[in-house]
């Protein structure tokens, strides 16, 4: 029945209930156990999405909207079965407003495609891309509060959303932001900010079908500097100083035991951009000056980067990062992306080392500064061998302990796995929880939208 109705909406070739599709759509590359959907469907238009939502309401079966399925925390596993809605056929870039610097895109537009499109057609504009592989979708990434290359300047990607078109859980199509009254998608202000109803909810409150997203100036020159320290207690100050200069575009920190020369050091990677060499040199100098004390005291210094090394760090996205999945020759890794105050770097770093030493897991820490050191996304990444159940279990355990440690420090796990969502809810302000539940019940009376996530008990 459901299958026939879905077929009538999207056409036979874009709906499946075959075991092969159900198998693949039952999990993402992370550690969360598989849960199979009953159907996979790939709409092309908002109207098709709307019709599918109506069908799901009629039969009271869940819908899980999906982008690149690269959160790694299993957010698009259908915890209660139902329909997985792969959004990637909705891949039109609808508008780029060059002067107001925003794009309006369909929900399935990938990071890679929008980046390439801008490079080709709007060489003076860029978007803030995450370090996820290029098949990640811009919309899903923004909706889960992703961050990326321009986050140090402009905040989380969710803060770059200028408006959206949403299919509500009950099937109505609605627009939020300036596009609700204007042909322009320039801003969420000055209206009541309804976008918040759909950001960070993991699809519990509706399906975003179109997104307005801010674009930013793209500069001709781009360079990278890596500041090395051997004492984690320096790092938050290093970040604070660099952020203070407002000369850096992006600041990340990485620490890992491999290759062996990297072990024990913290590498603060600083990206700078400019429109002239002079400007680039100027910015470099200002940043060096900001860190002069460390250099003078011989406590920190800049890594000498050959052109080959620079090219690796300047790649967007850095394909190197995905290769981490092969550390244990087993195609997997997952991370806790802890959102924390930058001040807690030392503590967070030491806590992470404690966990990996205790559990004997492979690891890499990778941190991105969000805002002018307003906070950071501290990723504790653990690779595992997918073919070795024990290894997967070990990684899962490390993730769980890390989630607990992060919450204890006062941080919040980003795009948390379902069990970690519960850990968050356990600690959440009662009033906030009631409000969350009320919003979900109100918007989604049949509880069809990605149920099992943000489940307020």
């Amino acid at each position: 029945m459901v299958y026939e109705e879905l077929k009538a909406i999207v056409g036979e070739e874009y709906v499946s209930k075959e075991p092969e599709e159900l198998h693949i759509y039952s999990s993402d590359p992370g550690t969360m156990p598989a849960t199979e959907p009953d159907y996979v469907v790939m709409p092309k238009t908002t109207e098709e999405v709307q019709k599918i939502v109506v069908v799901a309401n009629k039969h009271k079966i869940p819908i899980v909207p999906m982008g690149g399925a690269l959160a790694l925390s299993g957010l698009v596993r259908p915890l209660k079965g139902g329909i997985v809605m792969d959004m990637k056929r909705m891949d039109s870039i609808l508008e780029v407003n060059e002067k107001a610097r925003y794009a309006v895109i369909e929900a399935g537009v990938t990071e890679g495609m929008l980046k390439a499109y801008l490079e080709r057609n709007y060489p003076n504009l860029r978007l803030s891309t995450p370090d996820a592989p290029p098949i990640a979708t811009v919309t899903a990434n923004a909706l889960i509060h992703g961050s990326g290359r321009l986050s140090q300047m402009y905040g989380f990607h969710s803060e770059m959303v200028t408006g959206m078109e949403v299919v509500l859980p009950t099937g109505e199509i609605c627009r939020v932001g300036s596009c609700s009254i204007s042909p322009y998608w320039f801003s969420r202000s000055p209206l009541p900010d309804l976008a918040g109803l759909f950001i960070g909810w993991f699809g519990r409150t509706g399906i975003v079908t179109k997104l307005g997203i801010k674009l930013f100036p793209k500069h001709r020159y781009r360079d990278v500097m890596i500041f090395v320290t051997e004492n984690p207690s320096y790092v938050s100050d290093v970040i604070w100083r660099v952020a203070h200069t407002e000369m850096a575009e992006d600041i990340t920190v990485w620490a890992q035991p491999r290759p062996e020369w990297a072990e024990g050091f913290q590498h603060t990677t600083i990206y700078i951009t400019a429109d002239s060499e002079e400007e680039l040199k100027f910015k470099e100098r200002i940043i060096r000056n900001a860190l002069r004390d460390y250099i003078k005291q011989k406590e920190g210094g800049f890594l000498y980067l050959t052109p080959g090394m620079k090219a690796t760090f300047l790649q967007e996205p850095m394909s190197q990062l995905v290769r981490f999945a092969d550390v244990r020759k087993g195609g997997g890794f997952e991370y806790v992306g802890a959102i924390l105050p930058v001040d807690l770097f030392d503590k967070a770093y030491r806590k992470g080392l404690e966990i990996v030493e205790k559990l004997g897991v492979d690891w890499a820490f990778s941190v991105r500064i969000i805002g002018r050191s307003h906070c950071m996304m501290f990723a504790y990444a653990y690779p595992f061998n997918r073919a070795d159940d024990e290894d997967v279990e070990k990684a899962r355990k490390a993730l769980h302990e890390t989630n607990l440690a992060v919450l204890e420090m006062g941080g919040i796990p980003w795009k948390a796995e379902e069990p970690a969502q519960q850990l968050i809810l356990e600690r959440m302000d009662e009033g906030a929880k009631i409000l969350m539940k009320r919003v979900m019940d109100l918007l989604d009376p049949h509880g069809i939208m990605n149920p099992g996530n943000w489940e307020v008990k």
């Binding site: 090395v228 072990e263 460390y294 406590e299 050959t306 080959g308």
Partner: protein, 343 residues
């Protein structure tokens, strides 16, 4: 393993060329004598902190008394950090031979070319110039002399014997050293510390000269002017600088007279960047490249790949074409070398 250093030679020196000729420090005879005697006695001298580690005094010393090695030993003894500690420490780990590097050694025949730690140059030696010469490279054959710039003589000593042993394990009787530093290690350094090297080593220049001489018919003279960047480790084998002149003559290249060549060569600046002395590095690089540009040369010629990396872009912007000596020779025999590190 002790340095063959005779303090008496310093005490009775009549020139103190090590300091009076130094490209970076300004000492007159009197003050040079004063500091040098401290160094000879093993006392602290401000020179230990001022030294830019350019190796030149190894060449200037009329008595082969290894003034530079002596300085580095004392720098270490007095705990002088030339570079930020994490940078120096990381560098130390970066090139330490691993078990797997040593395990990778297999017999390659009587002759081989050492490419040191420059895998990016693999394509550049894929040439008739090096035909039939197996390439060995990796940490296991690394000479570690780079740590002379980091006040760390002990690590060089610690790894030296093993490096020699590793090369021997390849079964080579004759090793062609691509990099000056490699040649300098097996000759200058090994001799200074009394290490026995059980195989013959050939400097790249000597090898290139012999090859070109044998194939003189295939040379098409380039008829160009070049500015040469003499790297620090060439100071360890100054005699080879003359061989370079012979090579240039063979391939029809004029080495322009310029201020910072030959005895007055100056650094590429890479080391100063590692030390965090960027402004000084910039100043030196600018001085060097401006001098190249004003000489009217078409090519900026390097033998050291590090110098190449440090100065290629800057010299290209100044209108010179950066190129390695070996690639220049390839041009002269009709080959079209690609840029190092660009595949």
């Amino acid at each position: 393993m002790n340095l063959k250093f005779d303090p008496d030679r310093c005490f009775s020196c009549d020139s103190y060329a090590c300091l009076t000729k130094c490209q970076y420090l300004n000492y007159d005879f009197e003050s040079a004598r004063e500091e040098r005697i401290k160094i000879a006695k093993g006392e602290y001298s401000k020179v230990l902190e001022e030294c830019k580690t350019c190796y030149s005094c190894e060449e200037y010393c009329p008595y082969d008394n290894h003034p530079f090695y002596r300085i580095v030993e004392l720098q270490e003894e007095y705990g002088i950090n030339l570079a930020p500690k994490p940078i120096a420490k990381q560098l130390l780990k970066m090139y330490a031979p691993r078990e797997k590097d040593i395990a990778s050694i297999t017999g390659v025949g009587e002759k081989a070319l050492s490419l040191c730690l420059f895998p990016d140059l693999k394509d550049n030696v894929r040439s008739k110039l090096f035909e039939g010469l197996p390439v060995i490279m990796g940490r296991q054959v690394f000479c570690n002399l780079v740590y002379l710039h980091f006040a760390n003589m002990s690590v060089i000593k610690e790894r030296a014997q093993q490096t020699i042993e590793n090369v021997r394990k390849y079964g080579v009787e004759e090793l062609v050293c691509f990099h000056d530093e490699c040649y300098g290690f097996f000759n200058s350094y090994a001799k200074a510390y009394g290490l026995e090297v059980p195989f013959k080593t050939v400097h790249l220049y000597e090898y290139l000269y012999n090859w070109l001489k044998e194939h003189e018919d295939s040379i098409r003279k380039l008829n160009v002017k070049v500015a040469y960047q003499r790297n620090c480790s060439n100071r360890l084998s100054p005699e080879t600088d003359r061989v370079l002149d012979d090579i240039f003559e063979l391939i029809g290249v004029e080495r322009v007279e310029r201020e910072y060549d030959r005895e007055n060569g100056i650094c590429c600046g890479a080391v100063f960047k590692m030390w965090g002395e960027d402004e000084f590095a910039d100043e030196i690089q600018k001085k060097n490249v401006d001098d190249m540009a004003k000489s009217g040369a078409r090519f900026a010629v390097f033998n050291c790949p590090m110098c190449y990396v440090a100065l290629a872009e800057r010299s290209a912007k100044a209108g010179l074409m950066p190129i390695l000596v070996s690639d220049l020779c390839r041009l002269a025999v009709g080959e079209m070398p690609r840029l190092p590190g660009r595949g």
